[in-house]
Subunit: 147 residues, 2 copies
Amino acid sequence: MSELAKRYDLQAELARRQVRLTRQRRLLVDVIQGATRHLDAETLWKQAQARDPSINLATVYRTLGLLKKLGLVDELDLMHLEGEKHFYEVSREHRHLHLACFRCGSIVEYQTEAFEGLQKQVEAACGFSIQIGRLEFGGLCQECRRA
Amino acid sequence: MSELAKRYDLQAELARRQVRLTRQRRLLVDVIQGATRHLDAETLWKQAQARDPSINLATVYRTLGLLKKLGLVDELDLMHLEGEKHFYEVSREHRHLHLACFRCGSIVEYQTEAFEGLQKQVEAACGFSIQIGRLEFGGLCQECRRA
DNA sequence: ATTAATGCAAAGGATTTGCAATACC
DNA sequence: GGTATTGCAAATCCTTTGCATTAAT
């Protein structure tokens, strides 16, 4: 995650929606909120286990499912750079896209008005009301291009 | 697939690149080229089996892998509307995006200059050279909005 | 006392792989 | 004859689920 701009405050959002969580789920929310890069389920699990070794991977998946359903976290594929696992990030107010480098695996984020503009155009042209959008590019980052 | 506009001619592309295929792979290429909607591996397999019952699912995956590597077919997630399976389509000259309806499962395609414009903007801003791009929106189609 | 959340282990689905048999040039 | 492809079954990876136990209100 290159910029943390305008990520939801999960605790605040959950409070606002009057969602009550158990101790383990609060811990997971805390780890997700504090993440400095895109986490897969297993990495999240391991980070949570450092604070509570009894946490189970199934609980991680169930909590992620809940947060997805609430629209508080987004699930990413990141161009399937590492198998078919998913990655998770805290939702934001504005859309951003992901660039994945096929060579070094780095992930770059980029936020632009143009993405939201494109969405509006699509909604108007296709008659869809869009709830989720995912834009991912795969290629070579600046450094790997040279090599 | 709503429009077949400017899909690659797989046979022609393979010939141009001097790629020789076995009989089974040629059959699979033929089914992929003739598809009128987005196929998952198993559906492709069943359609191919109608013409050659001895075709194996592993061969389907291996052929898809080859065509992906050659940039002749693109792999789609289609918002994971039906589990985690992938869908495949013949690559095109111009980028297009996919809209998936969460209610009825319909898939709509939309091609716009704006998508390619956005890609150029991203390449310039982030220093990436982009090879693959995938833009998917999920929401409600016109009909399902009313219901 | 209900209702919901957890751990565990097993099941699940999609895809990939090892290897012996077969097809292709 | 040598290289690439195939079939088959097993393995793999990620994720979900059933169910008995435990926690939360």
